[in-house]
């Protein structure tokens, strides 16, 4: 696992997993977590490719997907910028959260658990966690 920083964004690239998804997901999280601020410029395809030693075409594919997400926008002659709309980022965060919750629910169903079982289990885990922090 390689940890690298390019223009203030840190990346952890694992060459045993598809690279396109890693770049995409790591920039998505950096935006959603606010590590790259609204309206901020992100590195150019070439800068990121050089910084990570990854094929520029792979980086470009990830950038195109970010644009489709509505998280970034290209400005002619100036580069790529994070959207300045906090609404858009929030909407994206919810989309991802919903998607993951759906997957989670599906998996729990496949295990034969009811929502009550799952909720009781989550509550118990949260209680245990609190107990660990304040004995």
């Amino acid at each position: 696992m390689d940890q690298k920083e390019v223009s203030g964004i840190s990346f952890q690239i694992d060459f045993s997993q598809p690279l396109y998804e890693q770049i995409l997901n790591q920039i998505r999280s950096a935006i959603v977590r606010g590590e790259i601020g609204l309206g901020e410029k992100i590195p150019s395809v070439r800068e990121l490719a050089r910084g990570l030693h990854i094929n520029p075409n792979t980086v470009m594919r990830a950038y195109q997907e970010l644009e489709r997400d509505g998280l970034t926008e290209k400005r002619r002659g100036q580069g790529t910028f994070v959207t300045s709309s906090s609404k858009r980022v929030e909407a994206f965060r919810m989309e991802v959260a919903k998607e993951q919750i759906h997957t989670f629910i599906e998996q729990m169903k496949n295990l034969g658990l009811t929502w009550e079982n799952v909720r009781a289990y989550i509550d118990q885990l949260l209680d245990d966690d609190k107990g660990g922090e304040n004995p």
């Binding site: 060459f15 396109y20 070439r46 094929n55």
Partner: protein
């Protein structure tokens, strides 16, 4: 079909008892950076020599850019042979001028730009160069050519990590600006593996696996893991 940069079917080539290629099939797509990977003696260099018409297959067919290899196709290929050297008395600038008059498609402005990326002084003389500097010069002489196919045989052998990184930076700055297929054979994959888009894994003169490298990663993990598992398996199957 001209959708392929290189297409070969059932290629065989022996040197005496030594089988260099034994039934190699390949179909390399155009305009990608392609890794041709495998242990020493797997047939990579023989394949490259065949693509440039330097050796003929004993049987099977090979097409480069849709044509049989020969002097016509060689005008469209920039080939960096393994352990290539240059005239010791030339300076970098003289080497570029020489290349401009003899190499089809050589662009001196691109060469000068690449030399800057790769940290090579134009006044440096070849005989005063380190192994890594000369290797970088040889590489510049190849990739500064506007030709559809670039073939680099072990461009990193004997080159230190810093030089390798300079080389990769130079390649990154170049691709995307033109339509080119770049074939790179290497057994030192560490710095370069993120650059490949397509790989052909070879062993004992045959293809073990070929395809999109992202698919390879999704199915089998890193190239290191792939190397270990694929080649161990092929040793076992061949030994039994």
């Amino acid at each position: 079909m001209t959708d392929w940069a290189v297409k070969g079917e059932a290629l065989f080539k022996s040197y005496g008892d030594n089988k260099a290629l034994s039934g190699l099939d390949l179909a390399i797509p155009k305009n990608k950076i392609v890794g041709i990977l495998g242990p020493n003696g797997c047939g990579k260099s023989t394949l490259f020599r065949m693509m440039t018409g330097l050796v003929k297959p004993d049987s099977g067919t090979i097409e480069v850019l849709g044509k049989t290899p020969g002097w016509r196709t060689n005008r469209e290929i920039a080939y960096l042979p393994d352990r290539a050297r240059w005239y010791p008395n030339h300076s970098v600038r003289q080497a570029f001028q020489w290349a401009e008059s003899f190499f089809p498609g050589f662009e001196i402005e691109s060469a000068v730009k690449l030399a800057r990326y790769m940290d090579i002084d134009l006044h440096l003389t070849v005989k005063g160069m380190s192994r890594g500097q000369e290797a970088r010069l040889m590489l510049i002489l190849c990739i500064a050519r506007r030709v559809p196919l670039i073939v680099l045989d072990e461009p990193f052998s004997g080159i230190d990590v810093i030089s390798r990184e300079h080389i990769i930076d130079g390649i990154i700055d170049f691709i995307g600006e033109r339509e080119q297929t770049i074939l790179i054979s290497t057994h030192e994959i560490h710095e370069i593996e993120g650059m490949f888009e397509y790989v052909l894994l070879m062993d004992k003169g045959k293809a073990l696996w070929s395809g999109d490298i992202e698919e390879l990663r999704a199915q089998h993990g890193s190239l290191h893991t792939v190397f270990r598992s694929f080649y161990k398996r092929s040793v076992i199957t061949n030994g039994s």
